[in-house]
């Protein structure tokens, strides 16, 4: 996708990207000749399509992490899965993102197998001990 300032016949340059958090994306482009700025606004479906390509508009500032899309976008659980207490969620959030999805699955499977309805830090400690998952 490129933007052309028709009046100047100049390719517009990327300016900045904003992710307001509602699934949409805003990206600005500026004409290097006349300075006109336009904003490209994508709806959630269009934004999703871009992210599915594993690319970032505006360029990557850090290299992609392993399983970046899988961990970020795949819903590992389903209805009937154990709930996560807020404390447990905070603790899970401290796990590096590239491994978070897998760690979450380990705890979720542990809880489901034992009929535990809510995962708490205490449950996580017990699971770590029983499963030999020190460091998770």
């Amino acid at each position: 996708m490129k933007f052309l300032c028709v009046e100047c016949d100049q390719q517009m340059a990327f300016g900045e990207r904003q992710l307001p958090g509602d699934g949409t994306l805003a990206a600005t482009f500026k004409c290097p000749k006349c300075g006109r700025v336009v904003a490209m606004l994508t709806n959630p479906m269009e934004t999703q399509l871009v992210s599915s390509l594993g690319v970032e508009i505006g360029g990557r500032t850090v290299p992609a992490e392993p399983f970046e899309m899988v961990n970020a976008m795949v819903v590992a659980g389903s209805a009937g899965s154990p709930a996560w207490s807020s404390d447990a969620q905070e603790r899970l959030a401290r796990v590096p993102s590239f491994v978070r999805g897998m760690v979450k699955k380990i705890y979720a499977d542990y809880a489901k197998e034992r009929g535990i309805a809510e995962i708490t830090p205490a449950v996580m400690d017990t699971a770590r001990s029983e499963l030999g998952l020190e460091g998770m």
């Binding site: 490129k2 340059a13 479906m45 999703q48 594993g54 970032e56 392993p66 819903v75 897998m102």
Partner: protein, 259 residues
């Protein structure tokens, strides 16, 4: 109004570097697979013919024969490889450089969406529900790309890729690899299977995949027909094995030697 310049006529550098980002993804896959001696896609075009069953048992036979073997379960919506290989651990990232595959029976390494999803959970993606058909296929292709590029396979003699029914995942695989992989085809004896598998094989030939041969599965039971022989003649390839309902212990080893 003067004609507006076309996309390809705009050649200024793109700060987003989308082309470079895509190239980096491909480079990551190529780098990861550089230690893989051989990639074989197991495909059918027809569901229920036992692709995953054949893939898993073939992988085990190859591993028992001393080859470093792994299976990538590309059936993201109906993954069964971990169950067949009794690989139950969750894959773990050893560092930010890669994800360790899970080891199953006979030392076969594997990766599968079944190892990411909780038991029984369907594959679902976060995102807008409306018109998800627009982006879901792209998400699945991205997952396949990450399975190929982010798993620390290590040195492998052979990587089997278990494809789902149809040809879409095969096409995605070709695009991600940048080349058409060798293909092993699985069918059952029936005419219905023959017709479905023919389409898949034709698609594979058109993309440039070498055909390694055909495995006829579920032979000797209620399924009647000569699908494997007909397809072998039509595509000038071999019938590598006919797998009965109750395979003998050496069935898989023999198939492994014919690949």
């Amino acid at each position: 109004m003067a004609p507006i310049r076309t996309y390809h006529q705009l050649t200024d550098p793109d700060r987003s570097g989308l082309g470079d980002q895509i190239a980096a993804q491909r480079g990551r896959v190529a780098e990861r697979l550089a230690q893989v001696g051989r990639i074989v896609a197991v495909m059918s075009g027809k569901g229920g013919v036992g692709k995953s069953y054949v893939t898993a048992h073939l992988a085990r036979a190859l591993a028992r024969a001393g080859l470093a073997t792994a299976v990538l379960d590309a059936d993201l919506n109906g993954p069964t490889i971990p169950g067949l290989l009794e690989a139950t651990d969750a894959p773990r990232a050893t560092s930010d450089q890669g994800v360790e595959p899970v080891e199953g029976l006979d030392g076969v390494r594997c990766i599968s969406m079944a190892l990411v999803l909780e038991d029984g959970a369907p594959l679902a993606f976060r995102g807008p529900v409306a018109e998800s058909f627009v982006w879901r296929g792209a998400m699945e292709a991205a997952a396949l790309r990450e399975f190929l590029g982010d798993v620390a396979w290590g040195r492998l003699d052979i990587l089997l890729i278990d494809l789902p029914p149809g040809v879409q995942r095969y096409v995605e695989l070709c695009d991600i690899l940048g080349a058409a992989p060798a293909v092993l085809t699985v069918t059952i004896p029936t005419a219905e299977s023959r017709d479905a598998v023919r389409r898949a094989m034709r698609g594979a030939v058109e993309r440039g995949s070498p055909l390694l041969g055909i495995v006829e599965n579920m032979v000797g039971g209620q399924f009647e027909g000569t699908a494997a022989d007909e397809l072998a003649a039509e595509f000038a390839t071999r019938v590598l094995a006919r797998i009965p309902w109750h395979p003998a212990p050496d069935t898989w080893a023999t198939l492994g030697t014919r690949l």
